[in-house]
Amino acid sequence: MSSKTNTNGTEASGLTPRYGIWSRFKRNRPAVFGSWILAIVIVLSAIGPAVFGWLTGISSDYIPSSVENGALVRSFPPSLTHPMGTDDLGRDLFLRVFEGGRISILVGIFASVISLLIGVAYGATAGFFGGRIDGVMMRIVDMLFAIPYLLIVVVMMSLFGGNNAPDAVKQVTEAFVFLTNALMSLAGASPISTSSGLFQIFFLFVALGSVSWLTMARIVRGQVLSLKNEEFILAARSIGVSTFGIVFRHLIPNISGPVIVYATLTIPSVMLAEAFLSFLGLGVQAPYSSWGSLAADGIKNIAVYPWQLVFPGLVMGMTLVALNLIGDGLRDAFDPKSSKS
């Protein structure tokens, strides 16, 4: 993805292309700041709970069996022992917010990567070849849109969710859990057994990933359709660049703006879809939390225990704003026409 191939762009930077992108990104201060925020949230999600538990001796699934002074109220406001307060079962919210972050971030990133990989390749192919191929490919996307993904999730959970999963699915899941465990043990967290709730999250990832690329494909196709008759593409074609080369070296870099922006938009929308599925009982398995499910719990108590919404909301909001800053930075950095240098 070099800016040199751009026929109507600004002068080439003279540095190697990758370095060019990186250096432009580094000069974009909001983007760098966003990266720091994201890094902090990721680190806190990875090792925060373990460190906090080691310091205070509290674990995220500890539910006091009864609470002194009348057992009814278990929601305690932020204090030194509970920096973000407790939820309505009396669990520490700091732990839950950052453990929930693991799932929310994973779901968001997984789905947006899928949407990038499949959506861009699919949309670009359809748009570039046009004609009948485009027609058929886009009609397939239309139909996938129309099939209720709720039903797909229900069926997938019931077919593969229990102990009656086919071996192939089990192996994939086990590999996935093994990977997660490896990551989590690096982070000092306790591993998860295959039979526990994380089993279900895998299907959540697949389900959300499988629908998240559809809009991306449409957007990319539209952009490619409008760009493919521009002079620089015609020029590339006339000097004999291969089709593959035209699509991946010339077209895609030139549509990176909408693509990156839409990819950053995918993350919040997938996080919300996850929250909605959790609400229907098809999402993240209790007692694991996610930012979406924490917000859904918090909103019920907003009038009385506002911290139960404020903290998950704040962390989620900060992360999304950070992702957005990074997205804008990447967009500018990738943009072959970027005048900002």
Binding site: G130, R139, S158, L214, G222, S226, L272, F279, G298
Partner: protein
């Protein structure tokens, strides 16, 4: 162009039937059925139910029966029951688009449920989309033209908040503020215009934010292109350049996004319908899936799939109209 549109229209019915067939398969694979409940039914009652709803015949027969209901079939009896089109041909009746009766809501036909609840979702969905489109495009345009200003940054972070605040959080917060803080608007239910404000606002927020962001990036790309530079060079004012020339091309990603978005909005949103107690289609659809109410699910899926296909066709036509670089059917 006309030929192209006609061709596309012709594919809609078979495609929608394909979607319905896949959905039918999924429902049959999904565990449980509409009469499964906490209480174990005696075998005799189960038999009676199977007989009554035609679940005793073979799967192939049931599938063909379903397809017949969805399209057209001859019925020998001239019973008054059932909905859809009825065309008398000699002694027999041709019945079309009769989606059958709901299994959960005894005595209500799917056609009736669809036509009764669609208007609610449609009114709210269309209003929300209009607000999102007008608001989002203007916000995005402002943010794009003043790309590096403080105003633009605020607008964009505000729109990011719009995207990251789920409807199930935004709606209750709006209710608390406008119904119990200010006592301006009713907290829920369907009624006069004042009942529409909160659902429409909470539903449009996410879409508005999306459209604003997509407009901004689209415009930023276009504003750097040659023809805009040319337009500027001719001495047009910046506003006329943006509105008259750049916006047309810069809005393309928004147009792509709009197709499915309109279809989704018209078909209703579960969360806001539940929170505001609106009798819309979205909630009914989710309930029908959870209840395994097969005719109702299939009816709604058939309708929504046609809606999506039509919306996407419109989007593609709009595409060609606003961007002359795109031509149909070319290689």
């Amino acid at each position: 162009m006309k030929v192209y549109i006609f061709k596309r229209l012709a594919t809609i019915i078979p495609m929608s039937l394909l979607v319905v067939s896949v959905t039918w398969g999924l429902i049959r694979i999904a565990p449980g059925n509409f009469y499964l409940s906490e209480k174990k039914l005696p075998a005799a009652i189960k038999e009676n139910i199977k007989k009554k709803y035609g679940l005793e015949s073979s799967l192939v027969e049931q599938y063909l029966m379903m397809l017949g209901n969805m399209t057209c079939r001859f019925s020998d009896s001239d019973d008054s029951e059932g909905a859809g089109l009825k065309i008398a041909i000699r002694s027999r009746t041709l019945r079309c688009f009769d989606f059958g009766y709901s299994l959960k809501y005894e005595g209500q036909s799917v056609n009736e449920i669809l036509s009764r609840h669609l208007p609610y979702s449609a009114v709210i969905g269309l209003l929300a989309f209009l607000i999102a489109l007008v608001g989002g495009v203007s916000l995005g345009a402002v943010a794009a033209t003043r790309k590096d200003s403080r105003v633009a940054r605020y607008l964009m972070s505000l729109s990011m908040i719009g995207i990251s605040v789920p409807t199930f959080v935004l709606a209750p917060v709006l209710v608390l503020a406008f119904s119990f803080g200010l006592y301006w608007l009713p907290p829920a239910r369907w009624g006069g215009m004042e009942h529409l404000v909160l659902p429409v606002l909470s539903l449009s927020a996410v879409y508005l934010a999306y459209i604003a962001r997509l407009t901004r990036t689209g415009l930023i790309e276009v504003l750097k292109s040659d023809y805009v530079r040319t337009a500027r060079a001719t001495g047009l004012s910046e506003a006329r350049v943006v509105v008259g020339h750049a916006l047309k091309a810069g809005i393309l990603p928004v147009v792509s996004f709009s197709g499915p978005a309109i279809a989704g909005l018209l078909a209703g949103s579960v969360v806001s319908e539940r929170i505001f107690a609106i009798p819309g289609l979205g909630n009914i659809f989710v309930q029908s899936v959870l209840n395994r109410d097969e005719p109702l699910t299939l009816g709604i899926v058939a309708f929504v799939s046609i809606l999506i296909l039509v919306c996407n066709l419109v989007v593609d036509v709009v595409y060609a109209l606003i961007d002359p670089r795109i031509r149909f059917g070319e290689r």
